[in-house]
């Protein structure tokens, strides 16, 4: 079992108006096999948390730590974090011209495992993963995310999640922009990865809709850069009814 600990994490960004503090001391602990939903209004810092853990250079950490089984994640480069077992499913996956999905997937898998995957099993694994997420096999020959619809990009993120088998997945608003069918397909992919790989999941979402398909063990409510409330799955039901207003009023 692995543990991802976030301790009093403080993060900001440089803006034209100067430094802006976004996370103001976040504490969370996630174990493999657990699913944590992070919910909250827009601008509360949910996505900042995910991007900071993954190491996006835009975010500046000015306090606290992130530990993966006791190892300081913040001292690792972006690729080292991925190789340590962290996976960020991006909110806005970028298009990379001229790099085919096939080439990208194999290069990443090789980097993550430290050796090239066996060609025959890899080809089979990729094909199965495409099938399960109902992605057109022709996409393998296309360039990474190029010309994919919003929903297709999200499916391709989950495809990678299934193929790369991380210890912890950070899902940054993976549900946004998905219709009901796509939401189901994507959720099934996350659930498969969870049950097959004993994965820990940090599910960032604005809406409770995805929680019908991916059952959280814990729900944390983010407001103004810190955890304002937490509880079990019942907290999500309450948010469904009441929204975030009562937290915002306090803030």
């Amino acid at each position: 079992m692995s543990t991802l600990e976030i301790k009093d994490l403080k993060v900001g960004i440089e803006t034209e108006q100067g430094f802006k503090q976004i996370l103001k001391g976040v504490n969370l602990e996630i174990k493999t096999g657990e699913t944590h939903a992070i919910m909250g209004p827009n601008g509360s810092g949910k996505s900042t948390l995910a991007s900071t853990i993954a190491g996006h250079p835009r975010y500046i950490v000015n306090g606290g730590e992130v530990l993966l089984d006791g190892e300081n994640v913040l001292e690792m480069s972006v690729d080292e974090r991925a190789r340590a077992g962290l996976f960020l499913a991006m909110q806005y996956p970028v298009e990379i011209p001229g790099v085919t999905m096939t080439n990208f997937l194999r290069t990443a898998k090789t980097a993550l495992d430290g050796e090239a995957p066996k060609l025959r099993t890899w080809t089979k694994d990729v094909k199965e993963a495409f099938d399960k997420l109902r992605i057109d096999p022709d996409f393998a020959a296309r360039n990474v995310n190029e010309g994919f619809s919003g929903g297709e990009k999200k499916r391709v993120e989950i495809l990678q999640l299934e193929l790369f088998k991380p210890k912890f997945a950070l899902l940054d608003e993976t549900d946004s922009g998905l219709d009901v069918d796509a939401l189901k397909i994507v959720s099934e992919g996350v659930n498969r990865a969870q049950s097959e790989n004993e994965m820990g999941t940090l599910l960032i979402t604005h809406y409770t809709r995805i929680l019908r398909y991916i059952k959280p063990d814990f729900v944390h409510v983010f407001v103004d850069g810190h955890v304002a409330d937490q509880g079990g799955p019942e907290l999500a039901d309450r948010l469904e009814d009441e929204g975030y207003d009562r937290y915002l009023a306090k803030a």
Binding site: M90, V94, I96, P97, G98, F104, A108, A111
Partner: protein, 429 residues
């Protein structure tokens, strides 16, 4: 290609030659010439047909086209269409009397498909009715027409069904010379024609491309010259009804390369794709100016040129003129230029121009970007465990690969991949 990508720069010289606080500037070599010559500057400008000092022609449609070199005034470097070109490095192509001696001989090869196909390469007179249908649009092109006595005419028969036809143009002379090539794709023909320039030459070249009704022609012009070459190539195409032209320019070698491709629609239903890839090293000047003339309704054009630059005084110029005339109702057009700057001291000029004379179009747009690596691309790849160096390699190759992918001929693609690897090895990318 230069020996070294880092050249010492004189003290006080701007980091990027010719780049002043005003932004884009004339080629510094031209400035020096016009300032010291009593015949330079305004005295010459008054005779110019090509607009004035940095002032564009009011319309691309109004540009002079003529087979007579006398109709074009001597170049000063202040003309709109010459203002970025270091004229001295044309090595006389604009002012010397040219002849066919010294021009690269053409060798025909059908490299894929039916090698028995009746493709012909003939040497025909200039007054042959099949050639000379596109009048030169600048002095250097008109000088080439004046300098040649014959035209090399390649005819792709209607029976062509996907053949790859290569014209090997291997130069071995530094004498200023002229060449005129005509490519005719007969109605319904489907083929790829590759004009592959290697060796060295000082060459003003006109290429006429006639894509007849319903023909589907991929034309690829490869500039794989040695370091010393100077090459101006005016590549004008006309498209018949429902004709499709994929025109691709790849410029890697040469001291100065200036390619001016154009596509003119003469009947409805035509489609022109115009792609380009260039890689400039220290001291190289690679210029591409293209023109798409939507003079017929319901035609489509898509333009994408991508370039990489590395080293001091690596200079690329891209000008994209798209004209949608009043007749061009139902036009759909897009043009884009993207430049990737790999080191300090390189300069990329990029000017998309779009003129629209009718509101009844399906779409028209343009974009231009010039910059370093996209950090978001690197982040995406590294977030999947790929180390930074490998991620950079993927991004750079991917950037350039996008055009190569469009050529669709495996043997050429392999050759270009090798050339790119050799270029990138110089800067450890």
């Amino acid at each position: 290609m230069a020996e070294s990508i880092t050249t010492p720069r004189p003290k006080g010289a701007p980091l990027i030659a010719g780049f002043t606080e005003e932004g884009e500037d004339l080629s510094p070599m031209n400035l020096a010439t016009t300032n010291v010559s009593p015949l330079g500057g305004d005295a010459v400008k008054a005779h110019s047909h090509g607009g004035g000092d940095g002032v564009p022609d009011s319309s691309r449609a109004g540009r002079l086209a003529s087979f007579e070199i006398e109709d074009f005034a001597p170049l000063t470097g202040r003309e709109e269409d010459w203002r970025f070109t270091p004229l001295k490095r044309l090595k006389g192509l604009d002012r010397l009397e040219l002849s066919q001696d010294g021009a690269p001989a053409l060798r025909l090869e059908i490299s894929e498909g039916d090698t028995e196909l009746a493709v012909t390469l003939e040497e025909v007179a200039k007054d042959d009715p099949r050639v000379g249908f596109m009048a030169p649009e600048d002095r250097v092109a008109a000088n080439a027409w004046a300098g040649v006595e014959t035209v090399q005419l390649l005819t792709v028969p209607a029976a062509a069904a996907g053949e790859v036809i290569v014209l090997h143009a291997e130069g071995n002379s530094d004498v200023a010379s002229a060449q005129h090539v005509a490519v005719v794709a007969e109605s319904g023909a489907n083929a790829t024609v590759v004009l592959d320039h290697t060796g060295t030459a000082v060459l003003s070249q006109n290429v006429e491309i006639d894509v007849k009704d319903a023909a589907d022609l991929t034309f690829v012009s490869l500039q794989r010259w040695e370091d010393s070459a100077a090459h101006a190539s005016d590549q004008q195409a006309r498209l018949g009804r429902d004709a499709h032209l994929k025109h691709t320019v790849v410029s890697f070698g040469g001291d100065l390369v200036r390619v001016t491709p154009s596509a003119r629609f003469t009947a409805p239903g035509g489609e022109a794709e115009m792609f380009g890839l260039y890689f400039a090293d220290a001291g190289q000047h690679l210029e591409h100016r293209l023109f798409v003339d939507h003079a017929a309704p319901k035609c489509t054009s898509n333009v994408l040129y991508k370039g990489a630059l590395q080293g001091h005084d690596a200079h690329t110029v891209w000008i994209g003129d798209v004209l949608i005339r009043a007749e061009g109702e139902g036009t759909d057009s897009y043009e884009a230029n993207k430049n990737l700057v790999l080191t300090d001291g390189a300069r990329a000029d990029s000017v998309p121009n779009l003129e629209i004379e009718t509101g009844l179009i399906d779409g028209a747009g343009h974009s231009s970007t010039t910059g370093r690596f996209d950090d978001e691309h690197l982040f995406y790849l590294m977030a999947r465990g790929i180390d930074e160096k490998t991620a950079r390699r993927l991004v750079v190759r991917g950037f350039l690969n996008e055009i190569i992918q469009k050529i669709g001929v495996a043997s050429i693609e392999d050759r270009l991949h090798e050339a790119i690897e050799a270029e990138l090895a110089q800067t450890d990318n």
